[in-house]
């Protein structure tokens, strides 16, 4: 991926923009590119989305294609599945991933299973966008991180980018994919900026990790908000510890090879992901490395996440349970 900011309109052009703007750009480009693409969800039209992600798209594409729904997650999630099965490419927004329980039937038994159950004859080109993460004092019912659930559940792809460029490239791939993709956006990084390729054909393959920073002593596999925080930490530690930072970007499928290669080089692994620690994303990444690079490990694998509690309201409590760069640093110090 190019970070070239040279002027002109060549494919290598990039522009600095926020994570939110990168997603909006991906949506705009795909809505322009394919008239079968439409977006639906609560207040995604005139209001522009509660996190302003859909913004002014309704002005360009109209209310047919930026479709405000009744507050009926099961109804419109199911309608998205039915629409996908009959030849459109819906992008369904579930305002907070915590609400997925309300429509989990349509995700679990319809969206994820149709293709397999029907012997491969149904395509399911649907993208579900949803928000995750704590840090805004929204308390337990609006701060959860559910990607492990769907990375575990067969039949859906689970994507959780950590940078604006990845957000653009992966969302475009998700919309173009004939398979159901749940696209998890950490709402704390909507304002984070980065260079984003402007090329309308810039896509990133789902299932490819990105080595965001090379290093020699320890591999930090970080997701979502932890990517940026780990990169800053790696800068700070420069000279003492050489930290390699990898954003897997897609949790299912997961790019095992890139992670294993890195650990074979560094011999140490820290996994930083804002989800509960038991039975989760951390365990899966750690296990894959164990299976494939056990004899390259020089120290026990470390995990940084949420200690199996919900996200509390009070800033003091919330700050306590959420993972931070300091936790990643402590983990590195335990093994280097």
């Amino acid at each position: 991926m190019s970070t070239d900011t040279a002027s002109g309109t060549g494919p290598a052009d990039t522009k600095e923009m926020t994570f939110r703007e990168a997603i909006r750009l991906a949506l705009r480009e795909e809505l322009e590119r394919d008239e079968n693409v439409f977006v639906m969800g609560e207040d995604v039209g005139k209001f522009g989305g509660v996190y302003e992600v859909t913004g002014d798209l309704v002005e360009q594409f109209g209310e047919e294609r930026l479709r405000d729904t009744p507050i009926s997650e099961a109804g419109f999630m199911g309608a998205g599945v039915g629409a996908a099965a009959t030849g459109t490419r819906p992008v369904v927004e579930i305002m907070f991933s915590d609400f997925i329980g309300v429509c989990s039937e349509q995700i679990i038994n319809q969206m994820a299973k149709n293709r397999y159950m029907f012997g491969g004859k149904t395509e399911m080109p649907i993208t579900v966008r949803t928000t995750e993460g704590g840090g805004s004092g929204a308390a337990s019912q609006h701060s959860g991180t559910l990607h492990t659930w769907f990375a575990h559940f067969p039949g859906v792809m689970a994507v959780a980018p950590g940078t604006p460029a990845a957000a653009k490239g992966l969302l475009k791939s998700a919309i173009r994919s004939n398979d159901p993709v749940i696209f998890f956006e950490n709402k704390e990084i909507y304002g984070q900026t980065g260079e984003v390729p402007l090329d309308e054909d810039f896509t990133l393959p789902i299932g490819e990790a990105s080595v965001e920073r090379e290093g020699e002593d320890v591999t930090v596999v970080a997701t979502q908000r932890m990517v940026g925080e780990s990169l800053e930490l790696a800068e700070e530690l420069e000279g003492q510890v050489s930290v390699e930072v990898i954003d897997p970007r897609s949790l299912y499928p997961l790019d095992t090879d890139t992670l294993v290669e890195s650990v074979k080089k560094t011999g140490r692994l820290v996994i930083a992901d804002e989800s509960p620690l038991s039975y989760g994303t951390h365990a899966e990444i750690g296990m894959r490395v164990m299976e494939n690079a056990f004899f390259s490990l020089d120290a026990p694998i470390q995990r940084v996440g949420v200690a199996d509690v919900h996200i509390p309201f009070s800033p003091v409590l919330e700050d306590e349970v959420l993972p931070h760069a300091s936790d990643v640093e402590a983990a590195i110090n335990r093994i280097v």
Partner: protein
């Protein structure tokens, strides 16, 4: 003939044929299940034939339907092939879903059949989505959801109808009120006299029709289709009917008596329609008997073919998850199958 024009004599004979095909297919499926031939469970449509065939006769070939766990009748009414269906019931290759779906998940999206469904109430949102596709693409298509009286108590059904009503989608919601949700009678599940009263809440037309009368169902759905195609939004139709068999095969049916069943059998949809066609000179008793014999033979052939068909190769269990290749599935499945012994989980390149 995939689409039936029930207003012609040919169409009427075809409608009768299709009702009888459903009955023969499902009666046979019941026998096969009792003999231990079929895996899983089967829910039979016997008794309700007029609803599926009446409704589908009012649809065009490219229209969509969604179905339920009791879906064989909907499949046949929509024109699906009983042979492929029977193979699917056996879990064999050549079935509609290559043995991955079975009785409860037969689907043929190309034929507009968006799937039988093991989840009560899950179909209506899918039909709303198919109707949305039609509206977005400006296609002259409608989507019809079949669901049971039990499903009317499901939240997602109401969400789907509300969305379709609010967006004026070309959808039709057809409740097959066969009087029971499993073992619980409809009066114990709903506080309204007629389920079609539900329509009032969405400000859409709602009708209750005699589901033992194919013509009544046809007329109501035809009207609903016209309304939907004219951009006037969805219609809610309740068809009063009855299932002659238990909820599932093997159900002891402690919740009703044979007398209850016989009252409905007296108004049998196939008998009534047949008599009407004989009286009108569309078909003779002999022609009907001949037709029924033909159908029974067709079903016997379907069974014979299904029995002979090979099972899918076990390795096919790992196919059809995604249209794209996912390394996990090939890696994990090859580990599981390595050396012919499953359950092996080692095999990392380090070893």
């Amino acid at each position: 003939m995939v689409v039936i024009d029930i207003e012609t004599e040919d169409g009427q004979r075809e409608a009768l044929r299709r009702m009888q095909t459903i009955r023969s297919f499902d009666s046979k499926a019941g026998d096969l299940f009792a003999d231990g031939e079929l895996p899983g469970f089967v829910h039979l449509y016997v008794g309700e034939e007029a609803v599926g065939v009446g409704a589908c006769s009012a649809l065009e070939e490219n229209d969509y339907i969604t179905s339920t766990h009791r879906g064989h009748g909907h499949c046949i009414a929509k024109g699906l092939d009983p042979k492929q269906m029977m193979s699917e019931l056996y879990g064999k290759s050549g079935g509609y879903c290559n043995g991955k779906g079975g009785s409860m998940h037969i689907a043929d999206v190309d034929a507009g059949m968006l799937g039988a469904n093991g989840i009560v109430g899950a179909g209506p949102p899918l039909a709303t989505g198919a109707a949305l596709t039609a509206q977005l693409k400006g296609e002259d298509k409608v989507a019809l959801a079949f669901f049971g009286d039990g499903a009317v108590a499901q939240g997602q059904v109401h969400e789907a109808i509300n969305i379709a009503a609010t967006w004026n989608l070309p959808a039709i919601f057809v409740v097959e009120n066969n009087q029971y949700g499993e073992a619980t009678p409809v009066e114990k599940q709903h506080n309204v006299q007629n389920l079609s009263e539900t329509a009032e809440a969405y400000n859409i037309p709602g009708f209750t029709v005699d589901g033992m009368d194919i013509t009544a169902v046809y007329e109501a759905v035809k009207e609903a289709r016209k309304r939907a195609a004219d951009g006037q939004g969805p219609t809610f139709i309740e068809a009063e009917t009855y299932r002659y068999h238990g909820h599932f095969e093997g159900d002891q049916q402690v919740y009703r008596t044979q007398e209850d069943v016989d009252i409905w059998k007296d108004r049998d949809a196939i008998e009534t329609f047949k008599t009407r066609l004989i009286d009108a000179g569309v078909i003779t008793e002999d022609e009907y008997d001949e037709m029924k014999a033909e159908i029974d033979e067709e079903i016997e052939d379907a069974v014979a073919e299904a029995k002979e068909a090979p099972y899918p190769d076990p390795s096919e269990a790992y196919e059809d998850m995604f249209s794209a290749t996912v390394p996990e599935i090939s890696q994990f499945s090859s580990q599981m199958r390595a050396d012919g012994g499953r359950g092996r989980t080692d095999g990392g390149e380090d070893q």
